[in-house]
Amino acid sequence: MTIPTAPLLELSTLWIQVTGTWCNLTCTHCLNSSGPHNPWLKSLDTDMVIRSIKEGAELGIKEIYYTGGEPFLHKDILLLTAHALEVAPTTILTNGTLITDQVADHLAELAQNSPYSLEIRISIDDVDPEKNDRIRGQGAFSKAIRALQVLHSRGLLPIVTATEILRDELPEGSGMYEQFRDLILSLGITKPRMKIMPVFSIGRMEGEGGPLLTPEMLDGFDYSLLQCSETRVVAEGGVYACPILAGLPQARLSEKSLKEAFKPCDLYHTACVTCYETGMTCKN
């Protein structure tokens, strides 16, 4: 069967998988199977990240995202955040468990000193601590909540990021969005911010296959609705098409530079169907 492709319409968003798949948690729905032991994708060297930011700036990117794994496991994450914020608005996707008072102080200082916004996205999957920790691991909820509070108290406005993994367990008539909004407000955070994402059939949720995109489905389709039309990801081994597929050989577009990854990418995975159907983006 012919695999359809998506063109790169512009490089707007640069993702950098700073810690590969190295994480201190082992969430049951993790889309790249991150965890503490033997990560299948290694962390990036500090120099490599700085080179990627420099190349992104030359190419006129609009924003930078740090992800992993858990970015705060990177020994130089604060230095790297400073470098990113010199160039563009920057978002860090984190489970929040490693954000101490000292780290929050440093982040607040970086945010204050940059003309660009620093966004910290904290993952929580349910407003109920027990349900959340069933997915994310014992104690994950309370540590994430504490991270929200320490960031908020320093004037940073964290964005709570939830997947729909537990949507089916919601009480009838109860909206996920409203539940999270109420939770955040109950913490005394008066500017609640959140992002809800679908679950992808990939990583620890990889199924037995599933439907794939066909060229016919993409006939007349507006490719700008797919994040891979404006995104590239730097991770161990090269440059990949999107954050969901980073590290997978078929999603690799270049072994070296971002510029070399300015070419169409294969829409080969069942996860591509989720983006196609929902129009979702990993961006804020």
Binding site: G60, I61, E119, L157, K191
Partner: protein, 276 residues
């Protein structure tokens, strides 16, 4: 009312050269602020007045702005809202990603769609999406969101220099004018251009002040950029919004100067400055 054919005839002419122009963005049905802005502009000896689109949204009585645009000889371009109204789309395509933002955007879009005449929608459909003029020695490109996308948000804190320099290079301009976000800003790039978000006159800019803003540009040895506050009868506007059963959240914004909706799209820095 009849479409403003006198204006349409100017759209495809060669870039005209000016010394001093006024530029406004996002009228959002706020005909009282538009009236006050045009009155203010008349006293400032400008050679032309431009509007960067989004005539509708948020406020009451959409059709009231069109005669004012005509009388004021305002040279307009299309915003995403205008495009949606003109071709009958089912939402404004503002580019929000949050359910609460989209909920409120939909309320104002349905109201505006219902209350905008067929003739005025057709007129919006004929507006260009960009305009080029000369301002003294400067090449000026006007767009609604960004030069590459009508509904792209160019906030001050999320528009890095590397992107803005690319815009100036790729679109061959010295000055880029945009609106769409609702909050004004100006950045002079290092020797290679100016980016100016001209703000909006449709609603205040989330700083607790009830006035709105437009922009005056004057070419001399240097470019002079002045943001001009416009005080208008916001209390009457709020009353009319009540009479039209528009959401209380919108009315609060007009009365207090704090945004209560379309907040989730704000980046961290801009969100931190507001009340909500």
């Amino acid at each position: 009312m009849k479409p403003m054919d006198s204006q349409l005839s100017t759209l495809n002419s060669e870039p005209k050269e000016y010394r001093r122009i006024a530029v406004c963005g996002g009228i959002y049905n706020n005909y009282l602020a538009l009236e006050a802005a045009l009155e203010d502009i008349r006293r400032r000896e400008v050679e032309a007045v431009f509007c960067l689109g989004d005539m509708g949204a948020f406020g009451p009585h959409p059709d009231r702005i069109f005669p004012l645009l005509d009388e004021g000889k305002v040279l307009a371009i299309q915003g995403n809202y205008d495009q949606s109204l003109a071709i009958g789309l089912d939402n404004c395509h503002c580019g929000y990603t949050d359910p609460r933002d989209n909920y409120f955007a939909q309320l104002s879009y349905e109201y505006t769609f219902r209350k905008t005449s067929h003739e005025n929608k057709a007129w919006l459909g004929k507006l260009p999406t960009h305009r080029r003029v000369k301002l003294g020695q400067y090449r000026v490109l006007m767009c609604h969101g960004s030069p590459r996308r009508i509904n792209e948000f160019l906030w001050e804190s999320t528009s890095p220099n590397c992107l803005l320099e690319k815009f100036c290079r790729d679109f061959e301009t010295d000055i880029l004018l945009c609106t769409h976000t609702g909050i004004k800003w100006h950045r002079a790039l290092n020797g290679c251009g100016h980016i100016i978000n001209v703000g909006t006159i449709g609603r205040p800019e989330n700083d607790g002040q009830v006035h709105v803003w437009y922009t005056l540009l004057t070419a001399g040895d240097d470019l002079q950029v002045e943001f001009i506050p416009v005080h208008y009868d916001h209390k009457t506007l709020a009353q009319e919004m009540e009479q039209e059963d528009l959401p209380l959240e919108f009315i609060e914004t007009i009365r207090t100067g704090w945004w209560t909706t379309c907040l989730e799209i704000l980046p961290a820095k801009e969100r931190a400055r507001g009340k909500y």
